[in-house]
């Protein structure tokens, strides 16, 4: 466990249908952060008058998601505060439904659409870290393969060719779905995302959206005997959430 001398402060946004908010709170707590939840109807992220160092938009079904995923949540009061936080350069990570909310809010490009196989998938995937110079990836190295769980029905990243070319050119694809050896294959691209994209950042590099769940992989006790074999990786979420906490400390 990382012990910080200074306590990192993280706000986790709770929409009425968020269901990974407490998982994010727990995981960040395990990593030593001071975490609170912010109700979506609030227009501030502060707790007891103090601003957070980082913001997490967690997974779930923010507003039931009977419309497009994240569409209603993106227009809720708290998102104004998230936008202002991001504009000021604060690190924001949207996980799963949080990624959907960030694209709907226009903070990230592209869309998350129905998985190619049209069904919900909950399983471990391998991700290749494409950049290690971001506040979300500094604990990893470029090219490193992480193992993280996914749990979504609408996680297939889609954007028009121009946008995808730009993302590639600007190095804004942070994670790609790969096989255990780090190779891009059609089988490893679990939801059929364009260019196997699993996570992207904004231009400034401080807003990340990703479909896999790092908060589900910070404790070795969980997920014993993962189907994909016992090749470790039960704590690979620490590379991402730990980097976030490091960055938040650095920024302060």
């Amino acid at each position: 466990m990382v012990a910080y001398r200074l306590e990192m402060r993280v706000a986790v946004v709770t929409f009425p249908g968020s269901n990974c908010d407490m998982d994010a709170v727990h995981a960040l707590g395990v990593l030593g952060a001071h975490v609170w939840t912010t109700w979506y109807a609030n227009d501030t992220l502060t707790s007891a008058g103090r601003a957070p160092d980082a913001v997490v938009i967690p997974g779930g079904f923010s507003y039931g998601d009977y419309l497009r995923c994240g569409a209603l949540a993106a227009r809720s009061p708290v998102m104004g505060a998230v936008r202002a936080f991001a504009t000021a350069g604060g690190p924001v990570i949207g996980i799963c439904n949080g990624f959907q909310v960030l694209t709907e809010a226009g903070l990230l490009p592209g869309q998350l659409v129905r998985n190619a196989e049209l069904e919900f998938r909950c399983e471990d995937v391998h991700l290749r870290v494409e950049r290690s110079d971001l506040p979300f990836t500094r604990r990893a190295r470029a090219g490193q393969v992480l193992r993280l769980p996914i749990a979504h029905a609408e996680g297939r990243y889609f954007a028009d060719r121009e946008t995808v070319d730009r993302l590639r050119g600007e190095g804004r694809v942070v994670f790609r779905y790969v096989d255990a050896t780090g190779e891009q294959t059609s089988e490893a691209n679990v939801n059929g995302s364009v260019d196997a994209i699993a996570g992207v950042v904004n231009e400034r590099g401080n807003v990340l959206g990703m479909m896999p769940h790092p908060e589900r992989a910070v404790e070795a006790l969980l997920m014993d005997d993962r189907r994909s074999g016992s090749d470790g990786g039960r704590e690979d979420g620490r590379f991402i959430l730990g980097s976030l906490l490091d960055a938040a400390l650095h920024a302060r």
Partner: protein
């Protein structure tokens, strides 16, 4: 006029004789609303009129039981001030008519039962039964039910962590969808389904009331027939988002001390929830039906009182806290309306705009007549059980037989099913589906683990109801023991045919007797459950009952969750230790069914004393860190169990080599079932200790092989099965991939 209602009462589920009983208890004729309210609460689903005299034979007490039968769910003590609320319920008939919503609302309903107890739901399991998967309609039902469970559970954010699937032609018309839910609570957080005291105000919370699900309790208690697709309006539509709001709001309200009592509206809607809450408290209510929020104008009091619209709760506010409660519910954007006040008159009075529409004694409403019938076993089943199995052809191709059994739906990998379920949300899942004999969850903030399983071999119960039900309990306890958990308590879901048939009543009576015997022997009291009757299908010789299926849901505890076991082989060179007797029997086996097309013979005999000893010794080895790999031999016998241990080892995992000796026929050794048998994989340094501990308590134990090598090589009575791991895997994974139309992995 009166005779007319006596006849029409049948549409509310009341027989003419029951109608006469209502008249006798009221001392007058009921009106239509009153008759309908009686009909709903006297249905089997709510009133257990056919099963209650039998259910009283089940053991329900023990030091571990915090809440026994009679509430929304049972609660068991797991130590350190923690309790687990758990219950299983069926949604068979709705799922037959509309599989997606039928299954989805089944999940929603059982979750409400859990958080009505003050517990936060933290896992569900399901026990599913379908007709043979060669038929398109059965695949449609399977796919729909799986989708429905995923739709609801994934959205609300409660992990689906385990389950079982059986496939048999008898479930073709009438699939079984049993869902078990577990919730976690501190002992002092327990809530009750009570109206509280006179003067308390009752609030209606959640979705508006519609005409959907009208008469569902009666529907659930009627047999399905060709006209059932016309019953579609009796199936409700689920809204997991609304339920998520209800869940969070209720838990927040309990924590703030705003609630005196709470219950969900399940079968028979407002009538059963308010009626049962009043009955438990021993008081009455003045209920104002016109206050109930409705989805459409013009609903009659009868429609409102019997609607089974989903995602609705009744909350009795703590006196003086009404305003606070309403403010909290408003924060969660929930409709909340005061609909009743508690009174000491002991009557359920329904008013519409001040006019009295129904006036019923609460006790009479909640105490339906009970029927004790004469059971008589169907002679066709007697003949099937007593069939001479000596004329079976010899086992010529043991490798082919093993592959056939691995592809049998009961045994085959359920990966294409459970990968559609979020089994990780809440980050407590220690052992995932498919990795062990039971699911294991950690309890945050403690070292405790909770294990859960659902089990029933319906063919065993069909061929011998008492013995079969004992096996269901024994197997559930064995599955918990194989992950290292101490079995604590049971919730049962009794799925049977029409109880007025002597053959079915015999099955029900004997199965309950078997449950009772095994639950006493294994110290796992029953804390509640559900009864689903009238499950039938059309056979060439007329309508027949499904295989009797008393599904057992069992909860256990691990004192230290880091000491648990899974079934996959983990190292090359581990000794494979067989705990228990080596040979099983072929009666009622998967082998007979899938290789010889026979559902015949007596199920294996059971020795509950030996069962308890085997389980205790396995638990001890796991808890003491001497063993991390255990798997019981059930359907398909030791050959299937050993193959599953290889398959659960992950891709590229090693094989094994084992020899079961020559003391019996090859078929009995390889594929025989029954008895308390567990295979452990133990490192060399611990083998002597493991075997010695077994022998010390008089349990046979022997090293039968070792993990490792490229292939799966198993010998018995001079015959050898030699297969590659890839061949095993192909057989094991293909069945449900094909059935669900998924691409080949």
């Amino acid at each position: 006029m009166t005779d007319d209602l006596r006849v029409r009462a049948a549409t509310f589920g009341l027989t003419p004789e029951e109608f006469d009983e209502v008249v006798r208890r009221l001392g007058r004729q009921p009106n239509a609303l009153e008759a309908a309210m009686f009909g709903a609460l006297w249905s089997e689903h709510c009133g257990y009129k056919n099963s209650k005299p039998l259910l009283r034979r089940l053991p329900t007490k023990g030091p571990q039981v915090i809440q026994g039968p009679g509430e929304n769910a049972g609660v068991v003590d797991i130590g350190e001030g923690w309790g687990v609320a758990f219950k299983m319920e069926s949604h068979n008939h709705p799922s037959a008519v509309e599989p997606v919503q039928g299954a989805a609302t089944g999940v929603g309903g059982i979750l409400r039962d859990i958080f009505a107890m003050g517990a936060r739901p933290f896992a569900t399991l399901n026990a599913l039964r379908f007709g043979e998967l060669g038929e398109e309609r059965n695949r449609y039902l399977l796919s729909g039910v799986v989708h429905g469970i995923a739709l609801y559970g994934n959205a609300i954010g409660v992990p689906t962590v385990g389950g079982e699937v059986e496939v048999n032609a008898c479930f073709g018309e009438n699939p079984l969808v049993n869902v078990m839910a577990l919730g976690l609570l501190r002992h002092d957080e327990l809530q009750k389904g009570t109206v509280g005291a006179p003067g308390n105000r009752l609030f209606y919370v959640g979705s508006k009331t519609g005409r959907d699900g009208l008469g569902g309790a009666v529907f659930a208690s009627a047999d399905l027939s060709g006209s059932s697709s016309a019953d579609r309006p009796a199936v409700q539509v689920g809204d997991p988002f609304m339920e998520k709001l209800l869940l969070e709001a209720c838990l927040e309200a309990y924590g703030a001390g705003l609630v005196a009592g709470v219950q969900d509206m399940g079968a028979a809607g407002l009538t059963s929830s308010v009626g049962e809450m009043a009955h438990r408290a021993g008081f009455g209510v003045d209920f104002h039906v016109d206050k109930v929020p409705t989805r459409e104008a013009g609903m009659t009091p009868l429609e409102v009182m019997l609607s089974e619209s989903q995602e609705r709760m009744v909350v009795s506010a703590a006196p003086g806290k009404e305003t606070e409660l309403l403010a909290l519910l408003a924060k969660w954007e929930l409709d909340a309306v005061e609909v009743a006040t508690v009174a000491d008159h002991g009557r359920f009075k329904v008013f519409e705009r001040g006019e009295l529409k129904a006036d019923l004694p609460v006790a009479a409403l909640n105490e339906p007549p009970e029927y004790v019938r004469e059971g008589l076993e169907d002679p066709r089943i007697v003949a099937a059980r007593e069939r001479d199995l000596a004329d079976l052809p010899d086992l010529k191709d043991p490798a082919g037989a093993l592959l056939t059994l691995l592809a049998s739906p009961t045994v085959a990998s359920k990966l294409p099913i459970y990968r559609q379920f979020d089994h990780q949300v809440m980050t407590n899942t220690v052992v995932v589906p498919g990795a062990a004999d039971a699911a294991v969850l950690r309890v945050k903030g403690s070292r405790l683990g909770v294990a859960a399983t659902v089990d029933c071999n319906s063919r065993y119960v069909y061929l011998d109801p008492e013995l079969g039900a004992m096996h269901a309990v024994a197997e559930a306890a064995r599955n918990l023991s194989c992950v290292g958990a101490l079995p604590l308590a049971v919730t049962d879901n009794l799925n049977f045919g029409n109880p007025t048939s002597p053959g079915v009543y015999y099955q029900l009576e004997k199965a309950v007797a078997g449950l009772a015997r095994a639950c006493v022997a294994l110290d796992t009291p029953v804390t509640g459950g559900n009864v689903s009757l009238y499950n039938e299908y059309a056979a060439p010789d007329g309508r027949r009952a499904i295989h009797p299926t008393p599904t057992v849901g069992m909860v256990g505890v691990l004192a230290d969750v880091s000491c648990h076991a899974t079934q996959g082989l983990k190292r090359v060179g581990d000794a494979l230790v067989l705990v228990g007797r080596v040979a099983g029997t072929l009666g009622a086996s998967e082998y007979l069914h899938r290789l010889h097309g026979l559902e015949a013979g007596a199920p294996p005999p059971i020795d509950l004393v030996e069962e308890a000893k085997v389980q205790a010794v396995v638990r001890g080895l796991i808890a003491d860190g001497l063993c991390d790999t255990a798997h019981d031999a059930s359907q398909g016998g030791l050959a299937v169990a050993l193959a599953e241990m290889v398959l659960a080892g992950g891709p590229g995992s090693a094989g094994l080599r084992a020899d079961l000796g020559a003391g019996h026929g090859a078929a009995e050794l390889l594929f025989g079932e029954g008895g308390a048998r567990v295979v452990l994989a133990v490192t060399d340094e611990n083998v002597a200790e493991a075997v010695a501990r077994c022998e010390a308590v008089g349990v046979p134990a022997a090293v039968v092989g070792r993990s490792g090598g490229e292939a799966f090589e198993l010998s018995a009575a001079g015959k050898t099965v030699k297969l590659t791991v890839a061949e095993l895997r192909t057989a094991h994974t293909g069945t449900f991939e094909r059935a669900l139309g998924a691409k080949q992995a």
